[in-house]
């Protein structure tokens, strides 16, 4: 491996960006591919798949044997709202491999007694997100129902390119949310990235079931990055 490749790869990893180290196993030549970089042909399809799944492996393309070593940042899940759904979601997200944290300025909700095992910030999203910026490997779920708390976080998540943005609330609630975000200068295509009503449609009823629906939707979004909507359901 050439030293510059190692430095480039580590720089990407330090910045929480995905990258692949591509090694030609016959010649030993290697290079770093950043996510979003265009790679043509069969190799390009393998590279896209590796970014999606996060799995490293050997592939054949154009008669050459390549090793693709994938570095994908650990996904984060930021939940706005220390509510009943979040209590159920915290242990599930942990098991599924997400670093989850909760932000809620309402100190009556954000208590360690209610949330013993998850990082909890009893402060406004405006304040917390300044020190802990969102990124492309972060999912954000806003579940407070309160525009004063949710809206800023949703706007930040869309601007940061979070791989998933979801908001709790009925279609009617969402319609007024859309209006507010439009007034705040967000484009329709940006706003359309918000999953609302939140969660996969599994008929969830209890807070725990809604948590399952949310987590499933987050995983679907993570594993279908770069796919069209029609292909997303078949990504796995």
């Amino acid at each position: 491996m050439d030293p510059q490749s190692l430095k480039t790869l580590n720089a990407e990893r330090r910045a929480r960006r995905a990258a692949i180290l591509l090694t030609d196993l016959a010649s030993g030549a290697s290079r770093v591919i950043r996510e979003g970089e265009t790679v043509s042909g069969d190799l390009g399809a393998e590279v896209a798949k590796a970014f999606r799944t996060g799995l490293s492996g050997t592939v054949e393309a154009g008669g050459v044997s390549y090793f693709l070593n994938v570095s994908v940042p650990r996904p984060r899940l930021v939940v706005i709202g220390a509510v009943h759904i979040s209590q159920a979601l915290a242990p599930m997200a942990k098991v599924a491999g997400f670093d989850m944290e909760i932000i809620d300025p309402r100190t009556a909700f954000a208590t360690e007694v209610r949330f013993p095992d998850v990082p909890l910030h009893a402060d406004w999203p405006e304040t917390v997100l300044k020190d802990r910026p969102l990124d492309g490997y972060t999912a954000l779920a806003a579940v407070t129902h309160d525009p004063k708390i949710d809206d800023f976080a949703l706007k930040s998540a869309l601007e940061a390119g979070c791989f998933y943005v979801g908001a709790l609330g009925s279609r009617k609630t969402h319609a007024s949310r859309v209006k507010r975000l439009q007034d705040a200068g967000m484009s329709d295509s940006e706003i359309a990235r918000i999953h609302a009503p939140i969660g996969l449609d599994i008929g969830a009823s209890s807070p725990a079931e809604i948590a399952v629906a949310v987590l499933a939707q987050v995983i679907q979004a993570l594993r279908s990055r770069g796919l069209s909507k029609a292909d997303a359901g078949r990504a796995a």
Partner: protein, 111 residues
Amino acid sequence: MAKTALDESRDPLAIAEEWLDGGRKVAIATVIETWGSASRPVGSHLVIDSEGNFHGSVSGGCVEGTVISEAIDVIDAGKPKMLEFGVADETAWRVGLSCGGRIKVYVERLG
């Protein structure tokens, strides 16, 4: 040190970079393929310097000794090597991959 997404004191590739900057000669070993009950996933690294210092792992400790001595040869010769370990292989048995798995490890010099 600035806070980054990496565990700088334990991440093999971060350590390889630090060693490189410190003027050490370094080899990187990577798990390329696994079959059966291999203990470290594909993509795992062991980094080695010419003195035999190492960080990371490519197995549960079964084959590291052999990988380290091969890596020192690779640092000298400069040409990458593919190593295979498995129970079917008498050499591998000797080095002790007794967990029943098989692994392929690619060893290359940095620079």
